[in-house]
């Protein structure tokens, strides 16, 4: 085992009987930025969910390692404590639980220690400002009645508060207007600046990538990574679409 942060080894997995990932391998080193692209239904979100340990998905074969530890069978909360984070494509609404209480509970759970209420409030207000979030949102029920943009900002707020070693951004930029994408990007930059954490960015959109130095790009099609390369791949995809990889897939 090398010094890699995350290592996914020949992962075959899916939902119930349906196999979605058909042997995916990927290795992310500390501080690296990886981008996963591919057409709808290729299995991009499935990969993110499996790294996070969503119990609705079933691993048929293959392994997931984090900092050299086999976490393939580990529950999601343990993975979060190890320093894995995922920004959800569709963040869930939890009535009766305020954003502030949630983030505080999460901060304490991940850090495995109590945080002082005053320090927490100060920190939260600071990060909300980075994200142009109205402080009132902290008192509102988690994601309930939030616009699409506010939900994504709340995800990035959690990213900033939890400072994970690896963050998976699952379509964080989809459905956002240009200003919101800019704000979210600023938040991601802040995360990189604060912790130099690694990123796996699942996206259709190049906008969120413009301010980041990308280390690796993976093209995922029909459950397999058909091409990996440096950021020059992005330009190729931008120009010609995924069609150019179909040949390689066969």
């Amino acid at each position: 085992m090398s010094d890699s942060l995350l290592k996914v080894e020949n992962l075959c997995a899916g939902i119930e009987e349906k196999e979605i990932l058909k042997g995916v391998s990927i290795e992310v080193n500390p501080g690296e930025v990886h981008v996963i692209m591919g057409p709808n239904g290729a299995g991009k979100s499935t990969l993110g969910n499996l790294i996070m340990g969503n119990p609705n998905y079933k691993v048929n074969s293959g392994k997931v390692f984090f900092e050299g530890n086999d976490i393939t069978d580990e529950p999601t909360d343990k993975r979060a404590k190890r320093g894995i984070f995922m920004s959800f494509q569709n963040p869930l609404e939890i009535a009766g639980l305020t954003l502030s209480d949630f983030v505080r509970t999460a901060t304490e759970a991940v850090g495995e220690k109590k945080v002082k209420f005053f320090d927490f409030k100060k920190e939260l207000a600071k990060e909300m400002e980075v994200l142009n979030m109205d402080g009132e949102y902290a008192k509102r029920d988690l994601n309930v009645g939030f616009s699409g943009g506010e939900k994504k900002k709340a995800e990035i707020l959690q990213l900033l508060m939890l400072s994970p070693k690896l963050a998976i951004l699952d379509e964080t930029d989809s459905g956002l207007d240009i200003d919101a994408v800019r704000t979210v990007s600023a938040g991601v930059e802040e995360y990189r600046k604060n912790t130099n954490g690694a990123l796996i960015i699942i996206t259709h959109n190049m906008n969120i990538l413009s301010s980041l130095k990308v280390d690796k790009v993976h093209v995922l099609m029909d459950g397999k990574i058909v091409k990996s390369g440096d950021e020059t791949l992005l330009a190729a995809i931008n120009e010609s679409g995924y069609g150019i990889f179909e040949k390689e897939e066969r």
Binding site: M52, G53, N54, P55, N56, Y57, K58, V59, T72, D73, E74, P75, T76, D77, R79, A80, K81, F85, M86, F88, P91, L92, I94, A95, G96, L97, F102, T105, A106, A109, V110, D141, Q158, L162
Partner: protein
């Protein structure tokens, strides 16, 4: 991912909440027949009732003996009515010393975060010590404002005797149902509160200081009279386990809300699991007055609980927020009734029912809008959450609308905890058990956010305890 693949809900150990007593036969009366005139007369004599009260009890006994047993709703077959006399006679004193309180109960108090003085009181220990002291302090403070707060027995012999006679069981007459009649015959203990016109009582009055006298918790009577323009928040019970030697609770609460007055009545009930909780609560609200019910039902084997608001004056209002949590072996039939009896009255009902294991949680409501209640409004929203496949939840709303100028709405939702929501919270480092508890606490926040902070915390801790062991 076998660790978190499947969740199985198990029976939770509710005995955690139950005081356990080693009982010996000599500890209590053994009378095989039902409730007799002699027993009621003895009780009346012991309590030194005024003549009218003795007559009242006997009349109620008559009604009780002639009333049919309740035969709708949750089964109360386990109630041994032939042995009713054992319910009336307290068979044993509550423990007199904190060190005699069983360890599991102490632990529960610890987990619920209940302060020491309160623990002593709840355990029946401090009834003569700390809690009396606290109670007297509260009493002095409110007495300075002209507020009367005492047990009914004392008040019956004091300057408010006529006021009690005028109001006692006028809102809930013994003819109402069999257990109201039983209550009328054998009531004992409880609270009397009178708030004079214009007085706003800033601190909530809390009844558990009164309820811990031995045997006082079974048929206690609460009579609250709040005069014109006054305000009162009354809190009944608390989230700690309440143990009663007998397994029937048939209390009665009557609240008279004066013109422009507001009364908030908060309850967290957590009876031990052998309890049949057949409680009757009713409020009458005068012009521009308001009653606010905040209610949490957790314990008991069977509950029938439907606080009723009679909106008797123009613009009278009623708000009702409740949470019911039925775990294994529990059948909690709860809800509310509202009668709109004057123009432009309004009612708002917001309830949450949670059921777990084979627990049954039924929401039952009745909204009546009489012909004269023109321009009245009523909105009901009830939501149910079933925590597993074995749990059961029912919603039985009834409406009787007799004017075309009323605005009436009803909304019902039944759901389960979504796996995705649990995964979401877990992805932030929160354990599966805590994630589920957080979702349930959030679901119950309609009541949580209405309670004073220390009670809200206790209720949340109680939910967490109920959720313990719900994951296999």
């Amino acid at each position: 991912m076998s660790d978190n693949e499947k969740t199985v809900v198990e029976d939770i150990d509710r005995t955690l909440y139950d005081f356990r007593y080693e009982e010996s036969e000599e500890d209590f009366y053994k009378v095989s027949e039902g409730l007799t005139k002699d027993i009621v007369l003895t009780l009346s004599q012991e309590k030194n009732d005024p003549d009218w009260m003795r007559e009242f009890r006997l009349k109620a006994l008559d009604i009780y003996n002639n009333k049919k047993m309740t035969d709708w709703g949750a089964s109360i077959e386990g109630l041994d009515m032939d042995n009713i006399v054992t319910y009336v006679k307290p068979k044993t004193q509550m423990s007199a010393d904190w060190k005699d309180v069983p360890k599991d109960i102490k632990d529960t108090f610890e987990k619920l975060g209940i302060p020491q003085a309160e623990r002593d009181a709840l355990a029946g220990v401090g009834a003569q010590y700390d809690s009396e002291l606290v109670y007297h302090n509260v009493k002095d403070e409110v007495a300075a404002q002209g507020v009367v707060y005492s047990d009914i027995e004392t008040a019956l012999r004091g300057p408010y005797a006529d006021m009690i006679k005028e109001h006692f069981m006028k809102l809930v007459p013994p003819t109402d149902h069999k257990f109201a009649a039983l209550h009328g015959a054998v009531w004992s203990g409880g609270s009397f509160v009178y708030v004079p016109p214009g007085v706003k009582v800033e601190i909530p009055l809390q009844s558990y200081f009164r309820l811990n006298a031995p045997g006082a918790g079974q048929f206690e009577h609460t009579l609250i009279i709040v005069d014109k323009g006054a305000y009162l928040h009354f809190i009944e019970g608390c989230s700690a386990p309440k143990y009663n030697v007998a397994n029937l609770h048939a209390g009665c609460v009557e609240i008279f809300v004066g013109e422009e007055a507001t009364v908030r009545y908060s309850t967290i009930e957590n009876w031990s699991k052998n309890m049949y909780n057949l409680n009757t609560k009713r409020a009458k609200v005068a012009k521009n007055g308001k009653i606010e019910w905040v209610s949490g039902s957790f314990g008991s084997h069977v509950s029938y609980l439907y606080p009723m608001s009679v909106l008797d004056g123009e613009n009278a209002r009623s708000e009702f927020s409740s949470v019911t949590f039925a775990g294994a072996g529990q059948n909690l039939d709860t809800g509310c009734k509202v009668v709109h009896n004057a123009p432009n009255t309004s009612s708002y009902v917001n309830t949450r029912s949670i059921s777990k294991a084979d627990g049954i949680s039924t929401f039952r409501s009745s909204v009546v809008i009489n012909k004269n209640a023109t321009g009245s409004k009523s909105a009901t929203s009830c939501e149910s959450l079933m925590l597993d496949k074995e749990s059961q939840s029912d919603t039985i709303p009834a409406m009787d609308i007799r004017t075309s100028s009323a605005d009436v709405g009803h909304e019902a939702k039944i759901g389960r905890i979504s796996d995705e929501a649990v995964f979401y919270l877990q992805s932030r480092g929160i354990s599966e058990e805590e994630a589920r508890a957080m979702i349930v606490r959030g679901f119950a926040s309609n009541v949580g956010k209405e309670l004073p902070l220390e009670y809200a915390i206790e209720m949340n801790n109680l939910i967490s305890l109920e959720m313990k062991g719900s994951i296999g």
